[in-house]
């Protein structure tokens, strides 16, 4: 990206299209958070590209006044990879849902993370298929009753973060769909990260899966049920800031500061930049508290950097500068 030459406000990123999500949907929050985050990123508007697959979330690009492509089921990571490889200067965002990226696009999802190309993925997870009107998704819970599981879902769910880190994601963050301020910050963090950043938004579906995350995200319980981690800071949570995480053997344990001789110094300090993903995986898996914020942010070589290095080396050593040099090389002969 070139240095910014213009100053933007969120309005600059709102397209003239009428937003058509259900009233009360968290998608509005995500849209506004993105429109607020982009002016903070120091990117020219014409360098921003949104690529989506299919689903409610995937209508997102239409509502952004940037470049965008509404693609096909699950393929946004692959389309975005082509955009980024074609022009590495662009800021490329993948917009996807749990159905889109965990099911039909599962393959592209894991491979884009493995490669660590410099893209940003926003995963709208509402644990349901919304656009097709209410079937269970790969993140739906066992026993969940949906249109396609009237007697309860029998397929155990993926945890997107666990899957992502297993696929070598270097950046993973998670946030509730009703916390716009933190969400905006995470989008900015994701953009800053060199490599594939994945941000999972726990997004409520008011029509088909209402209240799916209320137990963590409701304003009344949020502080007690969520741990918002920050790199270099102790993992403390709770309304009274008295709960924290310690490592007990190979398990994370919730403790109370001031009880059983526990002091603030005993609480684990979050290291998002650690290469070893073991602790990050444990944080992702934790059921209580629900860990949000940037869980993993390990700086690694990107695909573009590897490609650039190889290309530079090849260019240095090649005797071919124009295609004619190649065509007229090797075993050629004259006919008179």
């Amino acid at each position: 990206m070139e240095t910014i030459t213009k100053k933007y406000t969120f309005k600059d990123f709102a397209s003239d299209q009428e937003v058509r999500w259900c009233p009360g949907c968290d998608d509005y929050v995500i849209l506004r958070a993105m429109q607020k985050a982009l002016p903070e990123m120091g990117i020219n508007k014409e360098d921003v590209v949104f690529i989506s697959g299919i689903g409610c979330s995937s209508r997102f690009p239409y509502y952004m006044d940037s470049y965008g492509m509404h693609g096909i089921h699950g393929r946004a990571p692959a389309i975005a990879t082509g955009v980024k490889l074609a022009n590495p200067k662009l800021s490329v965002w993948v917009i996807t849902g749990d159905g889109d990226s965990m099911a039909i696009g599962g393959n592209h999802f894991i491979h884009v993370l493995r490669r660590n190309i410099d893209l940003n993925i926003i995963l709208f997870n509402n644990e349901i298929y919304g656009l097709t009107k209410g079937q269970f998704s790969p993140t739906s819970l066992v026993g969940q009753k949906t249109k396609s599981s009237p007697y309860g879902n029998t397929q155990p769910p993926f945890s997107p973060g666990e899957l992502a880190i297993g696929a070598q994601a270097r950046f993973f963050a998670r946030i509730g769909g009703n916390t716009p301020k933190e969400m905006t910050e995470l989008f900015i963090e994701g953009q800053k990260f060199k490599g594939t950043s994945l941000i999972e938004v726990l997004q409520n579906c008011v029509i088909f899966n209402d209240g799916c995350f209320t137990q963590f995200t409701d304003k009344k319980v949020r502080e007690d049920k969520q741990l918002y981690v920050e790199h270099g800071k102790p993992m403390i949570f709770g309304k009274d800031r008295d709960k924290g995480l310690v490592l007990n053997g190979l398990k994370l344990e919730v403790v109370t500061i001031g009880e059983k001789g526990i002091t603030q110094e005993d609480i684990l300090v979050h290291n998002a930049k650690e290469q070893d993903p073991t602790l990050h995986q444990m944080l992702v898996r934790l059921e209580y508290p629900m860990v949000t914020g940037v869980i993993r942010s390990y700086d690694d070589v990107t695909l573009e950097e590897r490609e650039d290095a190889v290309t530079a080396e090849v260019k240095r050593n090649s005797k071919f500068h124009k295609t004619d040099d190649l065509f007229f090389s090797g075993d050629i002969y004259q006919v008179f």
Partner: protein, 618 residues
């Protein structure tokens, strides 16, 4: 180095077909390639075709592990690798057994007698040794103990293990064939010197064995005379031997340079298309971005992304891969981005015959998508003109803002022929529809009035921010639109855009006769077979048979019906069950068409074609 100083009588031949066969580790592809290269440099026209098993390395000596390389060289125009061979070089019994049927009776077979052991004969399912049971009495069999002679020739070369020694026996065979056809060994010795620079003992060994084979043939009384094939009358210029897949890859390199765009390839390995990927990944120095994707769908969708971002984007595949790309191809059609999809056809359906040739993906290319989804479909017809059609596919995609499917097939993709090298300077201009500045009333679906191509605004361009997608869009603004009349309008304009390509492609012409009793019609990779068969019957006096060949299938050339109407009978020849004939019938429903179809995973044979033609004009 050996030069031919033989004072024996040279019999002058017009053309000869030689096939080298052996185990997949015997170096038959190399042997064939060397003979072809030497002959080409001597000035012959050539056509080659390798034929190897679909297994990586089948068990030694087995019937299904036979690897072969056929070369057809001539002082006359050569348009196919030929079907019946004049000389078979068989390095083992399995090779002899599986290829004997192709040898013309009375013609020559060279065998390595050392390989005709009891064990190898059993593996080849011979009940008795064919060299001893008179079963080869209709052929001239030259029995040579090539393995022992090779060992003898190398007994004083230091630093070679037994395996390396035996491995050079293919050069003994090649040396013999060089002598028989009056070729110099220089080209091959040069090749050794370049290829094995760091291993002088290998250069020495191969050179010694090659010469040993040459001298052996010279002194062997079993070969009474040697043959000469004079140089062919080919247009003056600089040439090289090129494989179809390489030519395809180079056509795209040329198109990228000419158009000033960077080349992006998104691809997933599949036989027989993979060599295009193998070739393009080598050329990072030209700025080629060749991306090996996780699957076929990522191959094409990454290319769509690259096209959106302003690259000359292509994806390469074979039959089953095109099936997987179908949905994405529909998207590319819908968003009207330039994209070339190469389908190197192979035997289908499903996994079918992966290493064999067929033309049965034509209807898939035409219609294998949901909805009304027209794209340009073109087909290359020879190994060397894969270059031109790859270039043309890129030109049409960029100038008309549409996906183009380029069909080749296993036969021309793996085969090779001389290519009169074309400098990029001499290639036609490639325009594009890039819009680099905002203008009043700019919309992403504003169209060029003549071609109907939409303008191409690339991310990174200020003020042209826009969204495209697979949903139907308003004809002017490009915003999502479900208005019924708009959908009908858009469906028709997308069809009309492809139809108008007719104004930018050449008309068809006929060869041998402009009117008459029979018009032979073909398309794509069968050009060589059909052309030489029609030529032959013409020379036999059937001057009322014409030939026309299609490289442009959608849209069809403008004058198609006009050309057809000058003949009493029309025979459509295809390596499928009649797919192009169906397309012709859809376009010209009153046409009466005869069909000649072959669905054996094999190219057309000359005699089957000539018999059919003659029978129809009787």
């Amino acid at each position: 180095m050996v030069t031919t100083q033989s004072n024996k009588q040279h019999e002058i031949l017009e053309a000869v077909i030689i096939r080298f066969v052996g185990d997949s580790g015997d170096g038959m592809q190399l042997t064939g390639t060397q003979f072809s290269g030497t002959s080409a440099m001597f000035g012959n026209d050539i056509a080659t075709f390798p034929n190897y098993p679909s297994e990586i390395r089948a068990p030694q000596g087995s019937l299904y592990g036979v690897s072969g390389f056929q070369v057809h060289i001539g002082s006359v125009e050569i348009s196919t690798p030929g079907d019946e061979v004049d000389l078979l070089v068989a390095m083992n019994p399995a090779g002899l057994k599986t290829n004997l049927h192709a040898v013309k009776p009375g013609h020559t077979i060279i065998v390595d007698t050392d390989a005709f052991t009891k064990k190898n004969l059993e593996k080849a399912q011979y009940e008795s040794n064919p060299l001893e049971d008179n079963s080869l009495e209709n052929y001239r069999v030259i029995e040579v103990a090539m393995t022992s002679l090779t060992k003898e020739a190398l007994k004083n070369v230091a630093g070679l293990d037994n395996k390396s020694i035996t491995r050079t026996k293919n050069m003994f065979a090649l040396g013999m064939v060089y002598w028989m056809y009056d070729r110099s060994t220089d080209h091959t010795i040069d090749f050794f010197n370049k290829k094995f620079t760091s291993r002088p003992e290998i250069i020495e060994a191969n050179t010694k064995v090659l010469n040993a084979g040459f001298y052996f043939a010279e002194t062997l009384e079993l070969i009474p005379n040697s043959y000469t094939i004079a140089p062919a009358k080919m247009p003056a210029g600089t040439y090289r031997i090129i494989m179809g897949n390489t030519a395809t890859a180079w056509g795209f390199l040329a198109a990228a340079e000419k158009s000033g765009l960077e080349l992006f390839l998104g691809s997933y390995p599949i036989t027989p298309a993979t060599d295009i990927l193998h070739e393009l990944v080598k050329h990072k120095h030209f700025g080629v971005k060749a991306f090996q994707a996780e699957d076929e769908i990522a191959g094409i969708t990454s290319a769509i992304g690259a096209a959106f971002a302003g690259d000359l984007a292509i994806t390469t595949t074979s039959g089953p891969g095109l099936a997987l790309k179908g949905e994405a191809l529909g998207l590319a059609m819908m968003v009207e981005l330039p994209l070339v999809v190469v389908n190197v056809q192979r035997g289908g359906p499903s996994t079918g015959l992966p290493t064999k040739t067929e033309q049965s993906d034509l209807l898939q290319a035409m219609y294998g998508r949901n909805g009304e989804s027209p794209v340009i479909v073109i087909a290359a017809s020879t190994p060397s003109n894969c270059f031109n059609f790859a270039y043309q596919a890129a030109k049409l995609a960029l100038e008309h803002m549409t996906p183009v499917i380029l069909l080749t097939d296993g036969y021309i993709a793996n085969g090779s022929s001389p290519w009169k090298i074309q400098s990029v300077n001499d290639m036609p201009e490639i325009k594009n529809n890039i819009v680099s500045k905002y203008y009043d009333n700019w919309h992403p679906y504003n169209r060029n009035e003549e071609t109907l191509a939409r303008n191409w605004a690339i991310p990174g361009t200020p003020k042209l921010e826009h969204r495209i997608g697979g949903l139907e869009k308003d004809k002017v603004t490009g915003n999502v639109s479900y208005v019924p009349e708009n959908h009908e309008f858009m469906t028709k304009i997308r069809a009309e855009k492809i139809k108008r390509v007719q104004d930018y492609i050449p008309e068809i012409s006929t060869e041998f006769a402009e009117e008459g009793d029979l018009l032979v019609v073909g398309w794509g990779g069968t050009y060589g077979s059909l052309h030489s068969a029609v030529k032959q019957v013409n020379e036999e006096g059937f001057t009322n048979i014409g030939f026309t060949h299609f490289n442009y299938i959608n849209p069809l050339p403008k004058n198609t019906l006009e050309v057809f109407s000058k003949f009493k009978k029309i025979l459509v020849c295809e390596l499928n069950n009649g797919q192009f004939a169906k397309i012709l019938k859809i376009n010209f429903n009153k046409l009466e068409l005869l069909q000649f179809n072959k669905i054996q995973g094999l190219p057309f044979g000359n005699s089957e074609l000539t018999e059919k033609f003659k029978q129809l004009v009787k």
